[in-house]
């Protein structure tokens, strides 16, 4: 149903390997972009932005990043929180060191710095595989958090040990600091999300992406047909960390404004993002968005039900949330290891073959 593909034929390889080969998908994609950029900014209010949109967008970037590493390259990482912290602190140092440079550039640079750090921690992945690596990445997580805690230089020797984002402007509009209009921070994050998603998509559908997936699916065979494992894995770590760094920077500068590394970027962040890609779907960019959307809305939803409707105490709801999330993770791993993205794919297939079942 919906899909009409008769007459939708390709006369060039460029057309055949584009992101949305099917016209209908293409239109839908442009439509979503149009709404996100041209309509939403005028509708949103502070609550929607801060409770839903910002976390969704920022986590999406992180999830895309982790998905590249875990979903596409098969290297499980529990260090996401730590790398987000790197992004945040890098951004903070840059913002304070070069106040005149545009914040957007800072965010990108923060991503770059994170990429370097990520690559360093990626080096062991050559020798260490599977969950040995997963555990190894915990080293990054704890070491980095500790570092930002202990080394005062990172938080400019502020008494609180916190870092807080000074006010910065883009085209004369504040995008960080207390006086930021909701729509502005929303647009900034949206721009970065779009940018990251496009890059991620291009990389994953091209030669590099194939190297990554080859390593993921069968590293030995991959090496024998000419994939350089070192290069493949390190690039994955670099790109992944780049995204995670950007999300960290935004998370600090645009979303929270002020963070204490321990609570903002602790081990739970790492798990949260990991869960996003499990629920959303490993090895799918759409999955990253889906997962982020899901786990961002879930607490809001539960709070709505639990606290506002049933009038339960918040801590109770918080515990309940743990239970639900845990159950969901297990449920997805059992029922649909490929997550929401797979459900989406199946649904799409069904629509394309409608009314036939297969």
């Amino acid at each position: 149903m919906l899909y009409r593909e008769a007459g939708d034929y390709k006369t060039s390889y460029e057309a055949d390997s584009q992101t949305f080969p099917i016209a209908f998908d293409r239109y839908r994609y442009w439509f979503v972009l149009a709404v996100a950029f041209l309509v939403l900014p005028f509708l949103v209010n502070d609550y929607v932005v801060n409770a839903l949109l910002l976390p969704f967008l920022i986590y999406s970037i992180a999830a895309i990043g982790l998905n590249i590493l875990t979903g596409y390259t098969g290297q499980v990482s529990l260090g996401t929180g730590g790398f987000m912290a790197v992004g945040a602190y890098a951004c903070y140092k840059l913002m304070t060191a070069f106040p005149d440079v545009n914040i957007l550039i800072h965010v990108l640079l923060a991503g770059g710095i994170t990429a370097i750090v990520g690559t360093l921690f990626g080096l062991p992945s050559l020798r260490i595989k599977g969950f040995y690596l997963a555990v190894a990445t915990l080293a990054a997580q704890f070491f980095l958090v500790w570092l930002f805690n202990k080394v005062a230089w990172f938080y400019n020797y502020s008494a609180s040990g916190q870092i807080s984002a000074p006010e910065r402007f883009v085209f004369g509009v504040a995008v960080t600091g207390p006086n930021t209009p909701a729509w502005a921070s929303y647009l900034v994050c949206l721009v970065f999300v779009t940018f990251c998603a496009l890059i991620a998509r291009n990389l994953t559908r091209g030669a590099l992406g194939r190297q990554w997936m080859a390593i993921r699916d069968m590293d030995i065979a991959a090496e024998i047909i000419g994939v350089n494992p070192l290069k493949a894995k390190l690039t994955a770590f670099a790109v992944s960390s780049f995204f995670v760094g950007i999300s960290g920077a935004l998370f600090f500068a645009v979303y929270l404004g002020a963070v204490e590394v321990g609570e903002a970027f602790g081990i739970n962040k790492s798990f949260l993002v990991l869960f996003m890609i499990i629920i959303g779907g490993l090895g799918s960019i759409f999955g990253a968005f889906a997962g982020a959307a899901f786990l961002v809305t879930l607490p809001v939803f539960l709070k709505l039900i639990g606290v506002d409707l049933l009038g339960w105490p918040t801590d109770l709801v918080a515990h309940l949330q743990l239970v639900v999330v845990g159950l969901l993770i297990m449920f997805f791993l059992v029922k649909e290891p490929h997550g929401l993205a797979q459900l989406w794919r199946v649904a799409k297939e069904k629509l394309r073959l409608w009314p036939f079942p297969h």
């Binding site: 919906l2 009409r4 008769a6 007459g7 034929y9 055949d16 073959l353 409608w354 009314p355 036939f356």
Partner: protein
């Protein structure tokens, strides 16, 4: 352009080509799915290709009037080959690509071709096998060099090589001269008829035949340069020549060639043709597929499907024919169209079909209605090679399953006293190649051609109705009319029945051989977990036989309604242990049953049908795909079918 481009100075198809190259040179003329994408050629590119090939052929020594065989799957390059041959003054003779070596040999010998342009190694090998019988065959040109590298190239060269030679050669003048020398009545192409009875005959068609017919038929359905067609039917068949050469060149619409037979369906969906032809068997197979696939669908979907198909059956055809329809019906049809019809058409690749034709065999009314009710403008035409296809066609809005429409533009019809249909038209063929007597038999001095079909014209609608082949319409021993095909078609409409052969001429009652449809029945067997190892085993399964005899008695019931043919009820039948097959000579390449051949091949079974035994043991020789021959033995059940009492036979009014 509705009147079609003007013909000034156009004498041949190559003329049309160069006209298109001039007027619409940048428009896409040919597409072929190759290497994963649709390679495209504009009209001017096509012309360039044809020119270089034509000049290349000259360097090979092609003489004016040479007959040049063309064999292979539908590919632009082979259509160009035919055009190139015509340019050089030669006559293209397209052959069936799946023809066996002997058949090829017969054709090549019969027209003593001096050249052959073929698709690939398979064709080259076939010709090589019989080369010694063909002293005149000078040179073979192949398109796809795969596996041919080690062959002796003294009398063999690649299409590309010939084109290169042509590009280098400076013989444009000669080519021009030859092209100018041609006349409107010169031979355009020679096509072999798939003789239902005798050896194939070469039908000679002139430029006039082709171009006039193309012009008229395009005007009839208002075909424009923006049509898309899928070229998938044998190039040797006159239909493909008219659609993919005549009409395409005339209007300038685009010809699309699939990547390979097994991707045909997918490719068709991608292209979404707007003008589509298929013989009834194709539609039949497709419908069977649809039904089978829907069987596997979920409960909800199945209900929805059938619910809306009923609406479609009731409303669809009316809407197509522009008859008034109640608002509620309109709405529910629109809903159905959104939920079922449109997606279904789209997945079948019929989503954009504006004009669809079927012909060759009568089509089962329900089958026909199915496609009509989906909103596909499927129509019937009646034609034959000798008429350059078109004799009668159904105009939009006057489409019925049981007629074949009104006379095509510039076609005259008459019915002889014997009930045989005669026609005369600009499309009437020149002659049978080297065969004056059969030419005389079929075509009289005033140019009237005998179709060999018995039929009559309805007073009210003026539509032609075909009963059967004249020679097949026989009398039964009691003198009542015997029209086997009429009955067979009724039987064949059931998805379970692939083919049926009815006997009864000069007998006291009718009997039938039946072929079950392996896909349909096989699927049914699966769902009822009935194990079977072979077609043969399945064909003799008791439950299957029960189903078939159920169908037969239903058919008998309908036949009983028609007083003219009520004698033709099937009294006894059996299900054959093998599928009727062109390789065994039981059918023509266009899948028409050869009644005579079958009758004598299975004479033992026939006797059994008219005897009283309930089963019979038989052995049959079969030909496997790789050409090997073998024997299969089987014991076949013979069933008596339930009969219906005919309506009181009143004296026929006319």
């Amino acid at each position: 352009m509705s009147a079609g481009p003007n013909t000034s100075g156009v004498k041949t198809l190559p003329d049309l080509l160069s006209r298109n190259a001039k007027t619409i040179g940048s428009k896409t003329a040919y597409r072929e799915k190759e290497f994963g994408i649709w390679q495209t050629w504009t009209w001017s590119e096509a012309e360039a290709e044809v020119d270089s090939l034509a000049k290349g052929l000259l360097t090979l020594g092609v003489e004016v009037g040479d007959l040049i065989a063309v064999a292979g799957r539908n590919r632009p390059a082979l259509y160009w080959a035919m055009l190139a041959v015509q340019k050089t003054g030669g006559i293209p003779v397209p052959l069936y690509q799946d023809a066996a070596a002997e058949e090829i040999a017969y054709a090549l010998e019969n027209c003593n071709a001096r050249f052959a342009i073929v698709g690939d190694q398979e064709q080259v090998d076939k010709i090589a096998d019989v080369r010694d019988q063909l002293p005149n065959l000078k040179h073979v040109v192949y398109l796809d060099g795969r596996g041919l590298r080690k062959y002796d190239h003294s009398h063999l060269s690649s299409y590309a090589a010939v084109q290169d030679a042509g590009a280098k050669a400076n013989n444009d003048a000669e080519l021009k001269a030859r092209q100018d020398a041609q006349t409107y009545d010169a031979t355009c192409v020679m096509l072999y008829t798939s003789g239902t009875t005798s050896k194939p005959k070469g039908v000679v068609l002139s430029n006039r035949n082709i171009i006039e017919t193309a012009k008229n038929s395009c005007a009839f359905d208002d075909l424009k340069a923006n049509e898309e067609i899928l070229a998938y039917l044998p190039m040797a068949w006159v239909g493909d020549f008219i659609f993919s050469m005549g009409q395409s060149l005339w209007t300038g619409f685009c010809v699309n060639c699939p990547e390979s037979p097994d991707t045909m369906q997918a490719d068709m969906r991608e292209i979404g043709p707007t003008y589509f032809f298929a013989p009834p068997q194709v539609f039949e197979r497709q419908l069977t597929q649809v039904m089978i696939r829907m069987e596997d669908a979920g409960k909800f979907k199945r209900r929805m499907f059938h619910r809306f198909m009923d609406v479609a059956k009731r409303v669809g055809p009316k809407l197509l024919d522009g008859e008034p329809v109640a608002l509620m019906d309109r709405l529910s049809y629109m809903l159905g169209n959104y939920l079922v019809f449109a997606p279904l058409k789209d997945t079948l690749g019929l989503g954009r079909v504006r004009v669809g034709y079927t012909a060759g065999e009568a089509i089962g009314p329900e089958l026909f209605q199915f496609y009509r009710s989906l909103g596909i403008n499927l129509k019937q035409l009646y034609g034959q090679t000798e008429a350059t296809v078109f004799i009668t066609q159904q105009p939009n809005g006057e489409v019925r399953a049981d007629t074949v429409g009104v006379a095509s533009p510039e076609v005259e019809l008459k019915i002889s006293d014997s009930g045989e249909v005669f026609y005369r038209s600009p499309g009437v063929f020149v002659e049978y190649f080297n065969n004056p007597e059969s030419t005389a038999d079929t075509k009289d001095a005033e140019g009237w051609v005998a179709t060999g079909d018995a039929g009559f014209i309805e007073e009210k609608s003026g539509h032609l109705r075909i009963i059967d082949r004249v020679k097949d319409v026989g009398k039964m021993s009691d003198g009542s009319m015997f029209a086997p095909k009429y009955v067979e078609n009724k039987l064949k409409f059931y998805p379970d029945i692939l083919e049926a052969v009815v006997f009864g001429a000069g007998r006291d009652r009718c009997t039938a051989f039946i072929n079950i449809d392996l896909t349909a029945v096989g699927n049914w067997a699966e769902r009822n977990n009935i194990a079977y190892s072979s077609y043969q085993e399945l064909s003799q399964n008791q439950q299957v036989l029960d189903i078939i005899s159920q169908h037969v008695s239903e058919v008998n019931a309908t036949i009983a309604q028609d007083e003219m043919l009520s004698g033709c009820q099937v009294h006894r039948f059996l299900v054959l242990h093998k599928e009727l097959d062109a390789d065994d000579g039981e059918m023509t390449r266009t899948r028409k049953v050869r009644r005579g051949v079958i009758a004598e091949k299975f004479d033992d079974l026939l006797d059994a049908l008219y005897g009283d035994m309930s089963e019979i043991y038989t052995e049959t020789e079969v030909t496997y795909e790789d050409g090997r021959k073998g024997k299969i033995a089987a014991t076949l059940d013979i069933r008596d079918a339930e009969l219906s009492t005919p309506v009181a036979k009143k004296v026929a009014a006319e």
